[in-house]
């Protein structure tokens, strides 16, 4: 094989020369085309400095890593992806400047930003210029302005309550639900939302009440709850109290399952609950290393190999998902026309994201929550138990 491919100058001198010239012309032509094709411009608007610098740098690193992977495989539609970053420092004023800068540069899509306030400030600028924006901002307001250009890649604030009610009612079919909260605005807001969702879905609430966070002894209120025999107790507060509640439930021989809100996710929860920790359920977005999907595991490995560190949070991955959806849209429509891409993105069904399967509704709200319910194991680690698609 190798022999026949090699040109033999003595045997075939003139033919070889012609062939070489032709090859050179073709190569030159191809290179010329590649140079003529402008790269696809993608903006990263993120807090590279300031309080959320860690998160912002994670978003930038993830986007650059994906762009490099795509470019190494020959780019998109024969074009390279070029990533530009603008630091909004997590502030609305700086975000508006970033937005104008990106619009002037002619970017196709902007990935980020991390904070809701900065995303909100940039939103109308991108909308007027027809620039696709995908952010993890959790403020419910982001999808309420009717901008076609906005796509939220993370769950909004209201998603945890929706998912929790879904887990309790559809996942576990609990018939008698007790809800406990502390007096903090966070825990109270979450428990109110969960109670509303349960009521709307027709669930049966047998108890709702409060503890004083930090008062340590919850046996009295738990005895009261035990007397109405719930099959599950949901607690929306923080882990120091959640761990104690779980331990004191066991002490009182309560059979009810324990389901805790996201503030219960802390290594200390299992330590405080001790022997009772095993079997407790916590609802939260998974951290990147707990994502069960092969694509997520691969991306996590690539990220660690490229940067020698762990991604700061799940939001690195949701923003990566936003970017991956934009890439999928370009490939599927074979176009970089924003209108076509947005049409495709609004209509796409069951996109296989790193953070789970999702689609977008007309307001740009992510349908398909990355929330999971995970069970605390005997060694304090977590195992995802719901939704089934994510369960290991």
């Amino acid at each position: 094989m190798t022999r026949t491919l090699r040109t033999n100058p003595e045997q075939n001198a003139s033919g070889g020369l012609w062939r070489s010239l032709l090859l050179a012309a073709v190569v030159a032509g191809l290179v010329g085309v590649a140079f003529a094709q402008k790269p696809i411009l993608i903006g990263v608007q993120a807090p590279i400095t300031g309080q959320y610098a860690n998160e912002g740098q994670g978003i930038e690193k993830a986007v650059k890593l994906i762009a490099k992977q795509v470019n190494d495989k020959g780019g998109l539609l024969g074009r390279q992806i070029e990533v530009q970053t603008c630091d909004d420092a997590g502030q609305a004023s700086q975000a508006a400047i970033c937005a104008r800068q990106f619009v002037n540069a002619g970017v196709l899509a902007v990935i980020g930003t991390y904070t809701s306030g900065a995303a909100l400030a940039a939103e109308p600028v991108y909308a007027r210029a027809n620039v696709i924006q995908t952010s993890d901002g959790t403020s419910d307001k982001l999808t309420q302005s009717g901008y076609e250009t906005f796509f939220r890649n993370a769950p909004p604030n209201s998603a945890e309550a929706k998912f929790t009610a879904q887990y309790l009612l559809d996942g576990k079919h609990y018939q008698r639900i007790a809800v406990l909260s502390d007096h903090s605005s966070f825990a109270q807001g979450l428990s109110d939302a969960v109670v509303n969702e349960i009521k709307q879905a027709g669930g049966n609430l047998v108890y709702t009440g409060f503890i004083s966070a930090g008062s340590q002894d919850y046996t009295a209120v738990l005895t009261k709850i035990k007397s109405v025999s719930p099959d599950v107790l949901y607690f929306s507060g923080y882990y120091p109290d959640g761990g104690l509640i779980r331990a004191q439930m066991e002490q009182l021989h309560m059979d009810a399952a324990f389901v805790g809100g996201d503030a219960n996710q802390n290594v200390a929860f299992a330590k405080i609950a001790g022997n009772a920790a095993q079997g407790a359920i916590i609802v939260n977005v998974p951290s990147p290393e707990n994502l069960p999907f092969p694509a997520a595991k691969q991306f996590l490995a690539d990220y660690k190999a490229a940067y020698g560190e762990d991604p700061p949070s799940i939001y690195t991955f949701t923003n990566a998902d936003g970017f991956r959806a934009v890439i999928a849209a370009i490939e599927a429509t074979n176009s970089t026309d924003p209108a076509k891409l947005m049409d495709w993105m609004h209509g796409m069904k069951d996109f296989q994201g790193l953070t789970g399967t999702f689609s977008w509704d007309q307001s740009g709200e992510r349908i398909g929550s990355p929330f999971t319910a995970f069970e605390v194991q005997a060694d304090g680690s977590y195992r995802i138990v719901y939704p089934e698609a994510a369960a290991q």
């Binding site: 007096h183 009440g209 409060f210 503890i211 004083s212 930090g214 008062s215 340590q216 002894d217 046996t219 009295a220 209120v221 005895t223 009261k224 035990k226 007397s227 120091p240 761990g243 104690l244 331990a247 002490q251 009182l252 021989h253 200390a268 330590k271 405080i272 001790g274 022997n275």
Partner: protein, 300 residues
């Protein structure tokens, strides 16, 4: 009935903590007419000292009960010393000053101890090792009680009975009572009042230390600023029972624990604290001297 019984057990357990800590308040008040606001923090300091002993690995992996006993001895001794040091530095120099100065000094000492705990052990929740004490519980009549709860209830009742005997049936106890009635007269009778006061500042915090370490062992977590809420509840317990009166502190502590449990169980857990403080106001209005109190708490 099973719920009533369970709430009774819940209440007596918490009441035991309150009573042990309330004893320190009431002893100091009885002799000095001073509310030692640093007392709650001293008690919680014991939980942290105990935690250090329990996690030190002394005696190997299966030291178990002996290690727990050692933790109690070390915590009570060190907190007793701390109480004595507090008396020497924060209160004795102000003995002749206006009473308000001593109260402000007590509040300062409280913050000093609280933040000292934070600097030494850190601001995070500290968790006690599991399985230090047998993980046994008994069920009867639909209610359950655990080994730790039995230990707490029995331990606090024994200590309270011991203290009562010491104060009422020993020579030094008589000296304490004499100093409580009239310091000048006691001094004229040849009693070393400063020694009496110092002993009260060692005994009270040492008893509070036992309560603090019980709290740590029972809930298996401790955080640096929890002395305030336990101190406040114990203070209320002391007032309910009649401040300055030792059996009163015991009765006040147990009553407050029971009252808390039944308020949370039968009225509303959200209103538990509001109801507790309403009770305090009601008792001060109806019976300012508390249930067993003889003197009116008029000095601060």
């Amino acid at each position: 009935m099973d719920v009533v019984l369970q709430q009774f057990i819940n209440g007596v357990t918490v009441g035991g903590f309150y009573a042990l800590i309330a004893l320190g308040y009431t002893m100091v008040y009885g002799v000095l007419k001073l509310i030692n606001f640093a007392h709650g923090d001293l008690s919680i300091l014991a939980a942290f000292i105990g935690l250090t002993v329990l996690t030190s690995g002394i005696g190997g992996a299966d030291a178990g009960a002996l290690l727990v006993a050692l933790a109690f001895v070390v915590a009570a001794a060190l907190v007793g010393v701390a109480g004595f040091a507090l008396e020497l530095t924060a209160y004795r120099p102000l003995r002749k000053a206006h009473r308000l100065s001593a109260v402000v000094s007590a509040l300062g000492a409280s913050m000093l101890i609280e933040n000292g705990i934070m600097l030494i052990w850190g601001p995070q929740v500290k968790v006690f090792p599991a399985n230090l004490l047998p993980h046994i519980s008994w069920s009867f009549g639909g209610a359950s009680i655990s080994f730790v709860q039995v230990l707490i209830i029995a331990g606090s009742l024994l200590l309270m009975a011991g203290l009562y005997f010491y104060v009422h049936h020993t020579r030094f106890g008589t000296a304490i009572r004499a100093a409580a009635i009239d310091q000048d007269a006691a001094r004229l009778m040849g009693i070393n009042v400063n020694r009496v006061i110092a002993s009260v500042f060692v005994l009270g915090p040492a008893l509070g230390a036992v309560g603090g370490l019980f709290i740590g062992l029972y809930y298996r977590e401790a955080y640096f600023n929890m002395g305030w809420i336990y101190g406040l509840n114990a203070f209320i317990a002391a007032i309910i029972g009649g401040i300055g009166n030792i059996p009163g502190a015991m009765i006040g502590g147990l009553l407050l624990g029971l009252f808390n449990a039944f308020a949370a169980g039968y009225v509303s857990s959200s209103w538990q604290e509001a109801i507790t403080f309403a009770l305090l106001i009601a008792i001060l209005l109806v019976r300012p001297t508390g249930i067993l109190g003889e003197r009116v708490a008029d000095k601060i």
